[in-house]
Amino acid sequence: MQDVVLAMLAKEPAYGYELRSRMRGALGPLGEAMNAGQIYVTLTRLAKAGLVTSERAEGLPDRPDRRVYTLTPAGQQRVAAWLAEVSWPKPDLSEFHLKLVAAAAARLADPVALVDAQRREVLRRLRDAQRAALERSVDPVVGLLLEGVVLRLRADLEWLEACERMWTDRDRAGRKAKA
């Protein structure tokens, strides 16, 4: 969040509410969950770290949302470093995988039923993202983000299919061994 807020300030100094609307505009429906408080908390931290400065606008009460924020040289350096970085956050598959392993080992739950429930949830998310992308009014840049979300969720569904095949086969093999 800090890096994003800094980068959004790189073009020109801005009020906090301007930053928020820039970010929401770029995120489309995915930006609806973002609240104003997060941005002001982030701006306050960035100011303490010396990465931004702020000036009170004339004639307005001194509140975070009435201040104009500007990048400091240190802030500009941090933006440059962030742009050069190639980190790529990955969805946490290990946790779900371990959930299935633990459920099967201790007979806590049927792994195939867990996969089914998870698939319904992923399908619901995919449906929502794809519906948002179908809106004719959606900005093409926002559409690109939604396409990325949809592609990832489709990959998750494929993986869940593979999980289901594996745990169904294990279940069958287990039953045969007992019989």
Binding site: L126, D128, R131, A132, L134
Partner: protein
């Protein structure tokens, strides 16, 4: 004996091969599709979904079980009666479009109506109207070879609608399309859904869930999940505009 369902299947089974090489492509499936429902059946390739669609549309016959389409029991119907029923009540959409290469877009769309004995002028009027509704009014005189994949599939959808079918059955309709063309086809299906067209789509492409009232997951010839999805999309509206 079909009750309120437009499509109804009971214990429908289709085997291929025999003895040790026996494959149960569809294994005792029960299904009711009420009029106006958009149903998506999703599953990996080889799960039996295409075979099921062919059985529901009377393109193949089941090994066992009963199928009703629009109050007619079709699993034991004569070939001739079945052909007439398909022509009058069912519109098909396929992955590879199945357009006639030597006919223009409008000629492809009007062909079914002409074969059903409609006067040529009326068939042409309706075909042009349908092409307009799928956004291809300006491509009516083009041969399929002059159209993009997405445009060809939209022509195929217009053709499927030409006899005002009670149900449209689509088999992997986005399978040969890139992402932009898939969006076009999904938008078209959403318009059909809003217009109350009964639609059954089988696909491995889960994006179809965005325009379905109900999604069934299929594995190894059987249904493993059946969820109702539509109407609860958060932060997403629907495509507006009438169809008929």
């Amino acid at each position: 004996m079909s009750g309120s369902a437009l499509l109804r299947a009971r214990g429908v089974t289709r085997w291929y091969g025999r003895e040790s090489a026996l494959v149960r492509a569809v294994d005792e499936v029960d299904l009711d599709v009420p009029a106006g429902q958009t149903l998506a059946i999703i599953g990996p390739s080889g799960c039996g979904k295409s075979t099921l669609l062919h059985l529901l549309g009377g393109l193949q016959r089941p090994t066992d079980g009963e199928i009703w389409l629009a109050d007619h029991r079709i699993d034991a119907m004569s070939e001739r009666a079945l052909a007439r029923l398909r022509r009058d009540h069912v519109g098909f959409v396929f992955q590879s479009f199945h357009l006639m290469d030597e006919l223009t877009a409008v000629e492809n769309v009007e062909l079914a109506a002409l074969l059903a004995g409609q006067p040529p002028r009326r068939a042409r009027r309706r075909a042009l109207l349908l092409l307009d509704r799928v956004g291809l009014a300006d491509r009516a005189g083009h041969l399929p070879s002059a159209l993009s994949g997405g445009q060809r599939q939209r022509v195929a959808i217009a053709r499927a609608l030409s006899n005002e079918p009670q149900v449209v059955l689509a088999d992997e309709p986005t399978g040969n399309l890139d992402s932009a063309a898939t969006l076009e086809v999904l938008r078209l299906f959403e318009e059909l859904r809003l217009a109350g067209q009964t639609l059954v789509v089988v696909t491995h492409d889960a994006r179809i869930a965005a325009v379905a009232d109900r999604v069934i997951s299929m594995r190894d010839g059987s249904f493993v999940d059946d969820s109702r999805l539509a109407g609860t999309a958060a932060g997403a509206g629907t495509v507006r505009g009438g169809w008929r």
